[in-house]
Each structure stands twice: as structure tokens, then as C-alpha cells.
Symmetry: C2
Subunit: 481 residues, 2 copies
């Protein structure tokens, strides 16, 4: 291909799978491409330079900041462009901590924040700060009073709460929390990346971050909004050519493309929240009917309109994802950011939800009713196939790895979902009221065995750490089911 000259790339065939993974980012919006090309002509120079090209870049950057501010209902001088959504969020969190260093060094955040917040928290602790994590309920929502109690304690430098969760869609009470914290002078830092898309953002957020990939902007740009009056200091070294509005370096064409594509996205989204909400409702209603032992996650009503997540027993997310891909659908699984690691999704663990067999479906304006209908039509056979391919299915003839005591199942060394498969297979041999013990060392087992018990009406009694690694989970057969 002529337009690839100058770089050797492997030939990657274009795929036309239905893309149901909007929460991982959208392809470049055509307006983003047009704006990037136009800004590349006049905005290639460093906008901090006093030369002609520098001044022309600065004019474009100012226009992009103004356009972004109008889209968000804030002032232009409250908008900063950052090199990514992650950078924007971390700069928001750590910059408020830096600005309020004398007030307090404690960072308060919920247990279901984006992994970028946890990484920023680790960094804050390494620098001598402290962190308090506020738990969520089984829908993934913080209790407003509990969050406020933590955030209003003495010595709190910053409180962080996402507007809505990126994995399960549950909204957090950011509007009342921001107001009550503002009265006490504590600025709430909000990851607003997903909630901003369909206009669900309250107006009173003092600090919030966005990721341009989610509306079809370039990958290399995020937005940090710091409202007037908030104390904020750059948490990372900046160069002389940078200010708080372009911390970490900013590409003017990327900023122009991000602003232009957000404006275009907003112009196109009329009615989309309702339409995508109806499609999501169809998925939420259909999943429990289409597959056994499945759990739709997240708050039933207080949630993002365009995103739904479910988990199913006896299947692993990565296999589901691959099989959906093979059948023509792109979805996400597990923690969308940690699916390439062995750690279970911290969001699902924090909710006490089943972590294995997790599938996130997130919609965008290009998704049609028939796309969703065809996805739902594929669900039963995809799940059945993945379940059938797992070793040691409950209905298979393979022997479970039983220890010398039949009431003890040794699943150590077996990765999830195998420990719950082993438990499910052993259950018919356990008398109602009797106790069975599962030994497991996969970190996801704690969450998954508890979730399995709830789903199956069995009783999780206790979990005891074993000498030499792993955990013993004691489960009473409460239900004959």
C-alpha cells in the first residue's frame, strides 16, 4: 500500500467484526482525522515559541481549548490537555495532593477506581503519603455516608471517586459527594471518562479527567479540568515550554482533533442514550434467560446507559472473548485493563462478584439493533462451547483432584475457573448440612467461590490461609440444588 511507504508492517487483514467494546476506545472519528490533518499544516510547531509557526500553533491550541471548554460547560482556562487519559487522571489525583500537601497527605478513593488511580496511590505511598480505600456494595457502588466520613477525616489531601465504573457501569454519587466535600474545602477528583459521553456529568465537579479515545479522538490525548479555586500543583517535572495546560507535552494536532471530535460526538448523540439504553436493557434481560449460571453485574438502575457486564460460571473470560471474536463480535473481558495479567479484576473482586467468565459489552452510536440481536443469538452457543472445552467439567467423566479425605478438594495449582468447577463437581456427594473444604491458590478463587455460593444458594463459612501458600475455603451444603 502506497500510504505505508517508509515503514515495514506485518500485513494485518482488515476485520469487520461488530465492535461492542466502545469503553475500550472508538476508531478515529472522521472529524478527528480531518482536524488532525488541518492542524498538522498550521499547528506542527511548538506553541510556546515566539516565532510565526509557534504563534500559529498557539492560536490553534487556544481554539481547541476554547472548543473543549464549550463542550464541557467550563472555562477555557480550566481545561488542560494531557498526553493520555491515564496521565490526566493521575495528574489530577497527584496534583491535588501536591497542591494540598500542607493540609493532608491522605488519599481517599473507592475500591473500584480505574487501575491508574491505584498506581497513583502506590506512588503516593512510596512518597510518604497514606491511602484509604472505601469499599463498595455488591453493585459496585460506594455508600455516600461512608465515603464522606473517610474523605472528611482530618488530614485528607484528596478524595477520588469515578463518575461511573468502567467495567460494570455503576454510577457513583459524585454530585452530592462533590457538594458536601466542597463545603469542607476538600476537592473531589472524578474520573469522568465514561460518564461524559452521553451527557451524564454533573456540573459541580471541581476536578475531572477525560480520555479522548472514548469519543473517537486520538489515542495520545487526555483532558484534565481543574475548576477555578482548586489548589493544584504539577506533580511531575514540567519543562519551561509547558504549563498546567499542556503538562507532559502536548501535540497541538491531537488537541485540535480531540476537541473537534468531541464536538462532533456531542452533535451526533441526540437520542443515543435512550436508544443504547434500550439495547443494553435487552441484553440485561436476555442473558439470564439465555445461559444458566450467569450473573448480570452492576447496579440495576443507577448505571451508564451504554454498557453492560455479565459473568458466567464454568467459563473463562479470555476464551469467551476469543470465541466471540471468531464469531464476529469484539467484546471485553475481566478487568478491561488487566485482562493480560493473571490478577483477577479488582473491580469484580471488590464487588464480591464472579470474576471468571466475565464479558463486557459496551455500545456506541454505530451499533444497530440487529448487531445486538445477533450478538444475543450467538451467546448460548459461545458459552456452551467454551464451557465444553474446559477440562474437568462437572458433567464430564474426568476425575476431580480429590485429596485423601473426600470432604477436602485440593485445587491448588489449578487456575480459575477450575476450583469452582471442582467444587461444583464434588457437591452432589456432600450431604445437605455437611461441610466441604476447597484448597486453592488462584487469587480469584476467594471472590469466585463466594460468588458461586451466593449464586447456588450454598453457604460460604470461612477462608483460612494455609501454611505454604493458598487458602482453605469451607463451604456448607445449604441447598440440595
Amino acid at each position: 500500500m502506497a500510504h505505508r511507504q517508509g515503514i515495514t508492517v506485518g500485513f494485518v487483514p482488515a476485520r469487520t467484526n461488530r465492535y461492542l467494546d466502545a469503553a475500550a476506545g472508538l476508531p478515529l472519528h472522521p472529524v478527528a482525522v480531518q482536524a488532525w490533518l488541518a492542524a498538522g499544516d498550521d499547528g506542527w510547531a511548538d506553541p510556546s515559541k515566539l516565532t510565526g509557526p509557534g504563534r500559529r500553533s498557539a492560536v490553534l491550541l487556544d481554539a481547541a481549548r476554547q472548543s473543549m471548554a464549550e463542550s464541557l460547560g467550563v472555562r477555557a482556562d480550566e481545561v488542560s490537555f494531557m498526553p493520555s487519559g491515564t496521565h490526566a487522571l493521575q495528574a489530577g489525583v497527584l496534583g491535588v495532593l501536591a497542591g494540598r500537601r500542607r493540609t493532608g497527605r491522605e488519599l481517599v478513593h473507592s475500591s473500584v477506581e480505574h487501575s491508574a488511580v491505584f498506581k497513583a496511590a502506590d506512588w503516593h505511598v512510596a512518597a510518604g503519603g497514606t491511602v484509604r480505600v472505601v469499599d463498595v456494595d455488591r453493585h459496585g457502588q460506594v455508600d455516600q455516608e461512608q465515603f464522606l466520613a473517610a474523605a472528611l477525616a482530618t488530614g485528607v489531601g484528596a478524595a477520588v471517586l469515578q463518575a461511573a465504573n468502567h467495567e460494570v457501569g455503576t454510577r457513583q454519587p459524585v454530585e452530592p459527594v462533590a457538594s458536601l466535600l466542597a463545603e469542607a474545602g476538600v476537592p473531589l477528583v472524578v474520573d469522568a471518562s465514561h460518564a461524559v459521553l452521553y451527557g451524564e456529568l454533573p456540573e459541580n465537579l471541581p476536578v475531572f479527567s477525560l480520555d479522548a479515545r472514548l469519543w473517537g479522538g486520538p489515542a495520545g490525548i487526555g483532558v484534565l479540568v481543574i475548576r477555578r479555586g482548586v489548589r493544584w500543583a504539577p506533580p511531575f517535572p514540567v519543562d519551561d515550554t509547558e504549563d498546567r495546560h499542556s503538562s507532559g507535552g502536548v501535540s497541538v494536532p491531537d488537541a485540535v482533533a480531540a476537541a473537534a471530535s468531541l464536538r462532533a460526538f456531542i452533535a451526533d448523540r441526540s437520542g443515543q442514550a435512550e436508544r443504547l439504553g434500550r439495547l443494553v436493557d435487552q441484553v440485561r434481560t436476555a442473558i439470564p434467560r439465555l445461559i444458566s449460571d450467569a450473573q448480570v453485574l452492576g447496579h440495576p438502575t443507577d448505571r451508564l446507559a451504554h454498557l453492560v457486564t455479565f459473568s458466567c460460571l464454568y467459563a473463562d473470560g479470555e476464551s469467551l472473548l476469543s470465541e466471540f471474536d471468531r464469531r464476529g463480535f469484539v467484546v471485553s473481558s475481566g478487568s478491561s485493563c488487566t485482562s493480560d495479567t493473571l490478577t483477577p479484576s479488582h473491580v469484580l473482586v471488590a464487588m464480591g462478584a464472579l470474576t471468571s467468565g466475565n464479558v463486557r459489552v459496551s455500545l456506541h452510536p454505530g451499533v444497530t439493533e440487529s448487531d445486538v440481536a445477533e450478538f444475543l443469538a450467538a451467546v448460548p452457543s459461545v458459552v456452551a462451547q467454551v464451557r465444553a472445552e474446559l477440562p474437568s467439567m462437572p458433567e464430564s467423566t474426568a476425575s476431580p483432584p480429590a485429596g485423601p479425605d473426600p470432604a477436602v478438594i485440593d485445587s491448588r495449582g489449578r487456575r480459575c475457573p477450575l476450583p469452582i468447577l471442582d467444587l461444583a463437581r464434588a457437591m452432589p456427594g456432600v450431604a445437605v448440612g455437611a461441610v466441604v473444604t476447597v484448597l486453592a491458590d488462584d487469587p480469584a478463587a476467594a471472590s469466585d467461590i463466594a460468588a458461586w455460593c451466593r449464586m447456588q444458594g450454598q453457604e460460604m463459612l470461612e477462608a483460612t490461609e494455609l501454611d505454604g501458600g493458598g487458602t482453605a475455603y469451607r463451604v456448607r451444603r445449604a441447598s440440595p440444588a
Copy 2:
């Protein structure tokens, strides 16, 4: 314009000035635009995702890293993409310090490094580290033995030395310094942004950073090379989706465009170093003939081929830059990164060079012989005009601000270059062998008065800080000139 829909930008007329400011960045290379568009189609997704689009992005990112590595003569796993050249340099410096925290917390760097290094050093000090700055000679070059002595002292975590200076072009002895430090186990971190362009980079640099803007790549991308065996740890929080190869977030289209445009730049550069070197030599020879009281800066021979800087007395750089712009030439002035502040260029101050009236001319493959000839033709009248517009010229009739004692000139409150103008004007009334005192509070005066004395054959005796601010400079009239 149709391709600007979605964003309101002020109308900025395209200018066709001759661009002689390559060291501030080049317009996007056509190959960069083509590669960005192609990679936008297949590389828009987060390359850490396990979905189809994510895997296609990862393939493109790997290909870009491989291409970049081939261009630089290193291994692909030694190449990291960063969101800017500044970020790459700071991550190189602070990452080596982080990786060698137990070995030592002292950072050694030259006094003429890019401002990004000084900012990183401030940050390191705020975190409890120490910094030792190694002086340069009047050409802006460190003494190899002196630098080694500092860098080989006990407790040094990192040593930083630019391959060549971004303001005056002087090369540093990075090849021998890197080798000798390597024997002692101290990794040298090198800002190689400018030296890489025409293949002047030695092969033994353990850590070096690049800025894609300098070869026509996108603004939002820098490159950090960390050779195998160097201990390096991420100095900033990273997200789970990032590794050391994409720290701070990376845009795959930007990475692909950076790699493709560097390859194209290298393919086109044959013979350019010699050609641009001849043009630069013409400028170096012509300037002292064309204008009085001018100084060509930087090492006479051990320097970048494509860049030349000169300073002239009784003129200020910003006015020169504006007047050149009006006459159709884009050049830079002062510290290229601090020209929008009142601080004099730290590079010129460190060299003891004249900071005012500074002009940097930096060439690129698109510059023709006639461009340079026309620039040189414009120099005399541009300088004469700027000098004529300054208040209180030596040959003007305005009264100098003399104190009660005629041997004391009170230039406090007057910005450079006015203090040296006042001194020059007073000199004819000072007897040869007598002493005149200049009181000044502009921070550039220290460097400028010393430089003026050298240029005029006068003798700078001493500088004494005054109670209440400012400095008294005592100058003996050694020469009747």
C-alpha cells in the same frame, strides 16, 4: 474550510517565510502524515487489549519499535515510545536515578543541558536527592576530566550529558565519557535529540532520548532508548496498560508516524550534513563581517553541522526575531525554550557569552543556498534597524542615567541590553586605566557586561551584590577602543 468542520478556529493566514528554525521542530514529514493515517485505520485501539483491534494495534506498535530500533542501530526491546521528547529525557534521567537509588542519590549534569534536565533535577532535589552541575568553557563544552571526576564520585546515581547543545551546537565528549563511566558502572544519560539527525551519534550510549518533532514526526512522541543491562525503574506512576516501552501512554499512530518519518529522514539525508555544514560555515564567516560588535557562539569546529548562533551588542533577541519574521525568515532567539520569560538563556550565561541580541539559525534539508544568501543579505539592515529602535543608543543624544558620581552609572530598572548600552555610552568619558561602576538589576547583566568587556578589550574587575537588590559591576578601561 470543509476539513475544519467541528471546530471554530481563528483564521490564520498561511505564511511562506523561509524556515531557519529546524532545531525547534520541523513541519510534519509527508511520510509521517501517510503513516499516521494508515496506522489510524488499524492502530487506533489500545495495544494492550486482547481483542482483535487491540492485537492489530500491538502488531503495528511492535513494527514501529522494530523500525525505530533499526534506524538507531539498537534492539527493539531497548526502544520506548514516550509522549514527548521532554518526557523521554526526564524519564531517562529520573528512571536511571530510580533504578540506582541504592547506589547513590546524586545527579551530575552539565550547566548547558536542556531546561528539561534542570526541571528534572529540581524535582529530584525536592524528593531528597542532590545535584552537581559541571561547568562548561566559553564554547559551551565540558572538560572531560572534570565531568568524569564529578560523575565518578561516590554516591552518583546518574550522569547526564547532551550529545550536542541545542542552542549553540557545541558537541560534548559523550563517547569517551560514556565508555569511562561504563567501566565504573555509571550509566550516562544522553540528550541525543539534535545529534541524531545527521548520524553524529556514537554507538556506546547506554541511555539516550530523542524528539520526533526534530525530524518531522508528530509532536506527541519522544523516544527513550535504554540499552540492555542498564538499571532503570519507572520514575512516574504507570498504568497496567503500559510498560516501560509505552510509559505515560502512547499513541500507536504517533509511534508508527515517528518511526516511518525517521526512516524517511535518514534515507533523504545523504550529503545533507556536508551541504548544511557548508551553509553554516558561510554564516559563521559572514556574520562578523556583516555586523559590528557581533559574536559567533559555540565551538569553532566540534559542533553540529546544521546549526549556528550569534549574539550582537546593543540589540535584543526578541526584536531581532520579529524583524527577521517581518522580512520573511523564521529564526530563534535566546534560550530556545525560555524566550518567553525574562530569564536570560542559562546556556549562554553558563558560557559567559553575550545573552542579548542572540539569534539561532538551524537548517534542514529543505533549506537552499539562496535561502541562506538572502538571510545574510538581510542581516545588516535588520540588526541596524533593531539597534536604531533601542532607546539611549550610544550615538544618540539622549542623556545616560548617570548618578551623582560620573564614574557610577545607575542602570537599575533598565532591562538588558540597556545596561551595556549605558556602559558603552559612558566609556569615552572614562580615562584609560580608570574604573567605572555599573549598577544593574537585570539578571542578564552579569553575563552581558562580562561578555561586553571581552569583546571590547576592557577589564571586568568585580561584581558586588548591593543591599536592596542589584549588583555593582566595576570595569576598568583597559583599551582606548
